[in-house]
Symmetry: C2
Amino acid sequence: MGRWDPDAGGRLQHSAMTLYLERGYEAVTTAEIAEHAGLKKRTYFRHFADKREVLFAGAEAFQSFVVDAVVHAGTDRAPMDVVITALADSGTLLEPYRDYTRARRDLIASSTDLQERDLIKLASLTAAVAEALREREVEPLQATLTAQAGVAAFSTAYDLWADDDGTSDFGRLVHQTLDNLRRAIGAA
Amino acid sequence: MGRWDPDAGGRLQHSAMTLYLERGYEAVTTAEIAEHAGLKKRTYFRHFADKREVLFAGAEAFQSFVVDAVVHAGTDRAPMDVVITALADSGTLLEPYRDYTRARRDLIASSTDLQERDLIKLASLTAAVAEALREREVEPLQATLTAQAGVAAFSTAYDLWADDDGTSDFGRLVHQTLDNLRRAIGAA
């Protein structure tokens, strides 16, 4: 293999998922992931900061997609509508990984370390969405609460999507979950 | 000092806050916290699992308080009302630590490790509240969404409470924040 490897990151992700699922998250080392991918350990750390980060490789691009959609939405639209549409449309980024979704979700649930990393990615997404709303001149508290409600609906929809038979539409689940949230808190 | 020390835990918490605020979270070791409290390092680890946990000493008792309130609420009350009242009433547990609240919140914000631990405590609270609702025969998805909305309102109210001039009532802030959440997500 040459020194230039355009898909080293993708191979490391695939190897990490394979080994984590085979042996459990705790039992696998980054050296073993690199070896499985036919790469050196130092290559692993050029791509991912630690043993957890390999499972969250798309998080930054995902957050940028959602924030861009919020920033560029028509100025006449209500904040909650802007946020939930951005999160629903993010399904186009998740769809190619649908086959991995349930296994990845269960893997995260198996480890407190992974749950913490997952939660901080969602918190980062919430903060970024709230900031994007404030740039649209939404009042700060409303921006925070709208972002929290949107990300809560998104993450619950993601769980439903992971558990279903593979036929449901992600965007539709996100919108339905927000409607259910409205009913649950008595806003509808 | 005798071997039996009824308030070793409290002294360790106080020493941890003092040293973390003086020098920053990263720069302080558990041995230094123990020494500051006049205790052995192994005593630290009898009380707290790691360097982070000392800042979350009351989390378990807090969660039990909220879950008990949900479990024992009158059967005629709506799920959202039960949850928000339980979280509002939890102010009685937070009030004695009011002077620490802002410093602790800013300390947590200074460290990704501490943020992760804080988020997993909130996720644990959310899951426990949802479970308590399901025991009241609330439909599972409604239970999850009601718990998420309640804890979102709670954590935003906690931030407002930490930032205010010390005169606001915690319970009232929690109820007001839920009302603002209702307006933010539409239809109220």
